[in-house]
């Protein structure tokens, strides 16, 4: 029996005439259990890059990793293996098999690993075809509630225009979740981030091919440990109010605002995917019409719903006061995550400017990132930034761009930019 709890962190006191209410809502699930694999409630697809660039060490490591992942998939789980280049093909079940997905059992595990071993690298890279095939395969098991995929590539999505990828990402959004992994230094962070963000997964860099297997094992185990197939965040705001933004802020920064699905005119639902026993933080900002000093108003109900049933609700309030000692307080949680969200965009914008040769903008943005990482105590971000810039004064955010930086360091900074630290309480 999973139980969700909602905790709200905010300063509900607003000065006269003020309209904007900010709150951090921490949602925690307990007793989620693990995914019900034995009864076939989970489907898993592994997409492995088989383009020509994979030849050699990367292909060998990817094959090994896919085999390790297959070992981790519990019996009863529906699964398939996809090999991807400029086209996608179903590697297992074998292309001539009748079924598009099968349930794992020892025989299937043995055959799947044999199929993976026979993969041959060739051709280009068009990831939209991989995602489209995975979507078609998942569609053959419509009764399976929990669908998860892993996508591994080592290169740019060079065989198709970016819009083709974006179009398919939009088309399959909401059908399954997908973690995206890039091995080496020749893939594009923004491409994989687009896939992982839309498909409620994570993006990460695997610098050394030897680390792929451990990562895949971890991804499959984490996926199987999520006993709640699909939960949605719901935000109610009163008549006449405007939801300014809804943002996941921990464990990573993801802006959910545009993913609103209307539940009723006052309530929007935002997909959050599957949940294990974990805690996630959301930053909700609502604009309400100002009320006279002394008034109280509910500014938002922030809820978690599974299967249409609301399991927990956090109340975000507004109280207008003329007591400066109340209204001037800044919620440490709101301040912390506001800084962390700005940190993520400063890093991404700074690296984009650097890649475009705009050193002035890159210096300002990355300097601001150094300052925010310092202020919010994000030491991991600080140490990653240190590999890209020389820090002269972290408090002022004065930096110099390093010459001859390792591309892997920039990519590591970029992929990890959305990871946040929690508030020290």
């Amino acid at each position: 029996m999973a139980v969700f709890t909602a905790e709200v962190f905010q300063n509900e006191f607003l000065p006269q005439g003020s309209t904007d209410v900010h709150a951090i809502v921490t949602l925690t699930s307990q007793g989620a259990g693990s995914a019900d694999t034995a009864s076939g409630a989970v489907a898993e697809i592994i997409m492995v890059d088989t383009s020509g660039s994979m030849s050699g060490r990367n292909m060998d490591a990817a094959k090994h990793a896919a085999q390790v992942a297959v070992d981790q998939i519990p019996d009863g789980t529906w699964f398939a293996i996809v090999g991807g280049s400029h086209v996608a093909q179903r590697v297992f079940p074998y292309p001539n098999a009748v079924r598009d997905m099968v349930q794992m059992e020892p025989g299937a595990r043995f055959e799947a690993k044999r199929a993976i071993a026979s993969l041959q690298p060739s051709g280009g890279t068009a990831m939209s075809t991989w995602l489209a095939l995975a979507d078609r395969l998942f569609a053959t098991v419509p009764h399976v509630p929990q669908r998860h995929a892993i996508l591994l590539t080592d290169g740019k999505n060079e065989s198709e225009p970016r819009q083709a990828l974006s179009g398919v990402v939009r088309a399959v959004t909401g059908h399954f979740q997908c973690d995206a992994r890039g091995v080496g230094a020749n893939w594009q962070v923004d491409e994989l981030r687009e896939i992982a963000t839309a498909l409620l997964g994570t993006v990460d860099l695997i610098a050394d091919p030897d680390d792929i297997a451990a990562d895949f094992r971890d991804l499959v185990q984490r996926s199987m440990a999520r006993g709640i197939a699909d939960a949605e965040l719901r935000v109610w705001a009163p008549q006449g109010a405007q939801v300014l933004f809804v943002r996941q802020v921990s464990p990573t920064v993801e802006d959910l605002t545009a993913r609103r699905r209307e539940v009723n005119p006052l309530t929007g639902a935002y997909p959050t995917g599957s949940w294990g026993d974990e805690s996630r933080d959301y930053h909700v900002a609502v604009r309400v019409p100002s009320k006279p000093v002394g008034s109280e108003q509910l500014a938002a109900r922030v809820q978690i719903a599974v299967g249409g049933e609301v399991l927990s609700s956090g109340l975000v309030k507004a109280r207008w006061s003329d007591d400066d000692s109340l209204t001037a307080r800044i919620s440490p949680e709101v301040a912390h995550y506001t800084g962390q969200a700005e940190l993520a965009s400063a890093i991404q914008e700074g690296l984009a400017a650097k890649a475009a040769g705009d050193e002035a903008t890159a210096t300002v943005k990355l300097g601001r990132a150094v300052q925010l990482a310092q202020e919010t105590g994000n030491d991991e971000a600080t140490s990653r930034l240190r590999r890209v810039v020389e820090i002269e004064d972290p408090e002022q955010g004065t930096v110099r761009l390093k010459r001859n930086t390792d591309r892997l360091d920039e990519m590591a900074l970029d992929t990890a930019s959305t990871k946040t630290t929690r508030v020290r309480r």
Binding site: M1, L266, P292, V293, A299, R301, S312
Partner: protein, 367 residues
């Protein structure tokens, strides 16, 4: 499988089922934890004693223990939407008025009142207790002193205790007041004095062991209508106005306040009420009160009119008796002369003026 938390908590007021997140009973509005000592550290008022819901209006001496209002989902006082179990409107987010924050009493067709938190105050420290039977009515208003914690509890206890004393002299009471007009006036004056003492005892009992300087305190005003006889008693600055339809409107009480003392010395009302000490009351009920002898006065009801008993939350916005008469007449006309509806309209009017204090208006239509 997945489920939300549930538990079988019941309301101490009406026994109805509560949701674990409820701060107030959905059925009767009793604050969760009232009378149970249940600790709610997350509640801003957690350190304060639980506030009981005010009793329903008493009809004669019938004991009106916490009677929940007739069923149905609570309705938002701001927009008419449904109030959710979390205590806020499902449409506009306005918090549900707790029974203590806003309540109305209508003991008879000619007597009714409304007691409201107002706009600016966090709690309703005003209290009201009304009773009526035949040609008898008793209207009590107590205004808690907001600098003393627990004044909301104290004022409610005081009003209830005072009403009990007055109802005992009513037509169905144990010590019915009878006789000539002069005898009845003397008897009611004496009962008003005893009512003030009983109210004072109730204030002390509401906060046992409180340091005198932190002890709760409140004003006291009561009006008794005994057919054509109107007798009032008071301590502090809550008021009774007699507003005949034809004739000269009068403020029957004289405030025990800085302003009242200035006016007693001949300073004009406007100047007195604008003085810095205007609102400092000079007499009150509570452990730190020096003298709890109610002043009393009487008037004869010689024609149709309104008796208005109110706290300063109303008269702050309209003080001179002729202006009050116009205000009441105007709202009574719009409310079809129903006393409770008229009182509600007066409270809404005071809130529209800013609602800087708790507002109580109780009315009897006489003559």
């Amino acid at each position: 499988m997945v489920s939300g938390t549930t538990s079988a908590v019941t309301c101490t007021g009406c026994g109805g089922a509560l949701h674990p997140d409820d701060r107030f009973c959905e059925a009767c509005g009793t604050p969760v934890g009232a009378g149970t000592g249940r600790d709610r550290p997350d509640d801003e008022a957690g350190s304060l004693p639980p506030v009981p819901a005010p009793p329903a209006a008493k009809v004669a001496d019938e004991d009106g223990d916490d009677v929940p209002p007739a069923g149905g989902a609570p309705v938002c006082r701001a927009c008419g939407g449904r109030v959710a179990t979390d205590g806020y409107c499902e449409e506009c987010g306005t918090p549900a008025a707790s029974e203590r924050d806003h309540f109305a009493q209508s003991p008879s067709s000619w007597v009714g009142g409304v007691c409201d938190r107002g706009v600016r105050h966090a709690r309703n420290e005003d209290a009201m207790a009304l009773a009526a039977s035949g040609g008898f009515a008793a209207l009590v208003v107590c205004d808690g002193v907001s600098t003393a914690p627990g004044s909301d509890v104290a004022s409610l206890a005081a009003a209830g205790a005072a009403l009990d004393v007055l109802v005992a002299g009513g037509p169905e009471g144990a010590a019915r007041v009878t006789g000539t007009v002069a005898a009845r006036q003397a008897a009611w004056s004496s009962l008003l004095g005893r009512a003030a003492v009983a109210a004072d005892d109730a204030v002390a009992a509401s906060a046992p062991g409180a340091e005198p300087e932190h002890a709760p305190s409140c004003t006291f005003v009561a009006a008794v209508v005994d057919d054509a006889l109107l007798v009032v008693g008071w301590l502090g600055d809550s008021r009774v106005y007699w507003l005949p339809d034809d004739g000269t409107p009068e403020q029957l009480t004289a405030d025990d306040s800085g302003a009242g003392e200035l006016m007693a010395r001949g300073v004009p009302r406007a100047a007195a009420e604008a003085s810095p000490q205007a609102h400092a009351i000079t007499r009150w009920l509570g452990p730190d009160a020096e003298d709890v002898t109610a002043r009393t006065t009487a008037a004869t009801v010689d024609g149709p009119g309104w008796v208005l008993v109110c706290s300063d939350g109303l008269w702050n916005y309209c003080s001179p008796a002729p202006d009050v008469a116009l205000l009441v007449r105007e709202h009574a006309a719009a409310a079809g002369a129903d006393p409770t509806a008229t009182a509600a309209a007066l409270v809404a009017w005071a809130n529209a003026q800013g609602g800087r204090d708790n507002v109580t208006a109780a009315l009897a239509r006489v003559g």
